[in-house]
């Protein structure tokens, strides 16, 4: 009888604990969503911090130029307007949760992904040179390029290079295979790039191998 009641006690406990565990896991799932959002916000902060810095500097410059070279002040003020509007668009995209792809968040994602894979990464923190209309497609390039580096390259280092009209993802890994082969990733990306009025190239990064993915927007 003693044993029996211990058994019943034990089993009752198991059932009770199961319920507590289930609740705990539900709570964890809910909070994990929040964590993901916090990550996104962090990326956003990094880049917005940068945009605001540039705006501050340009406003100060414009103020100094105004009395002596008003025509140059005009162009600084126009830059400020563009930077602020684009930063605002980034804020909106991130908040709305539709977030197709933005360059800002993809760069953040790239940094995380490469760090997670133990690959030394050089990832730009500033996107303000890139005109707003190129940012989405550049975001897709970064996403697919970095995914491939992590999956296929065996590289130790990876560099992302941004200019106003181009984006490159370069690594020092085993480089492209002669067979070409390949899946959907680069094919889909090439289509996307062409639709946006750009050209995609892939090839060896240098004499010692490595992989280079480069996209140029045509003027």
């Amino acid at each position: 009888i003693l044993l029996a009641s211990v058994a019943v006690f034990g089993i009752t406990k198991v059932i009770e604990r199961n319920a507590q565990l289930r609740e705990a896991y539900e709570e964890i799932a809910r909070l994990a969503v929040t964590e993901e959002r916090a990550r996104m916000s962090r990326d956003l902060h990094d880049i917005l911090g940068h945009s605001l810095t540039v705006i501050t500097v340009k406003a100060e410059l414009a103020g100094k130029l105004l009395p002596v070279a008003p025509e140059r002040a005009v162009s600084e003020v126009a830059d400020i307007e563009r930077l602020a509007r684009e930063a605002l668009a980034d804020v909106r995209t991130t908040i709305s949760g539709q977030r197709s792809v933005t360059l800002v968040t993809e760069l953040g994602g790239a940094r995380n992904a490469l760090a997670g894979a133990g690959i030394d990464a050089e990832v730009p923190t500033a996107v303000d040179e890139v005109p707003g209309e190129h940012r989405e497609v550049f975001g897709w390039v970064v996403r697919e390029g970095v995914t491939n580096v992590v999956r296929h390259s065996g590289a130790r280092t990876c560099t992302i290079l941004l200019t106003a009209h181009s984006v490159e993802v370069v690594d020092d890994g085993r480089g492209p295979e002669d067979t070409g082969g390949g899946g959907q990733g680069l094919r889909g990306l090439r289509e996307r790039v062409q639709q946006a009025g750009g050209r995609l190239e892939v090839g060896r990064a240098g004499p010692d191998g490595g992989f280079r993915l480069k996209v140029d927007m045509l003027p």
């Binding site: 969503v33 929040t34 959002r37 916000s41 602020a84 509007r85 605002l88 909106r92 991130t94 908040i95 709305s96 949760g97 539709q98």
Partner: protein, 146 residues
């Protein structure tokens, strides 16, 4: 050319002031009243007889959507263009149900904003498509939940 008389309601005084100055630069637009609270909209509209009211959504006293409904009821000849920073879920639908004719972001370039004012004044609808998409994503993100 007839002048379109405007009322601006926004609790961000700096935004309101800059928008007023920008719209005043348009030859056919004149800002005749500015308020910083939603519950002052109707009274000021009764005094100043605006043709179009640009209403912010998040304001103290009365939010822009309730202010839209109140204004449409009391001053029906005044059309409403809602201007907002964020399209939180449900804003667009509720603004339109309250009687707004237009729904755009505050940072709409001045030329386009002036154009939106003219269209709303002539009875047309103006909805910023990106903002509409944002506000239709119902409850998608706790970042928008308030």
């Amino acid at each position: 050319m007839t002048t379109i008389r405007l009322l601006l309601a926004d609790d961000q005084a700096l935004v309101r002031g800059a928008l007023a100055a920008l719209l005043d630069l348009e030859p056919d637009l004149e800002v005749v009243a500015q308020v910083g609270r939603g519950d002052e909209v109707v009274a000021r509209a009764l005094e100043s007889a605006p043709d179009v009211a640009l209403l912010d959504i998040e304001m103290p006293g009365l939010d822009g959507i309730a202010a839209t409904a109140a204004l449409r009821a009391r001053v029906p000849r005044c059309e409403v263009l809602v201007v907002t920073t964020f399209g939180r879920p449900g804003y667009l639908r509720r603004a339109m149900e309250a009687g707004a004719k237009g729904f755009v972001v505050k940072d709409t370039p001045a030329a386009q904003l002036a154009d939106a004012v003219r269209r709303v004044h002539s009875g047309l609808r103006v909805v910023d498509p990106a903002l509409a998409a944002e506000t239709l994503v119902a409850g998608a993100s706790p970042l928008t939940a308030r």
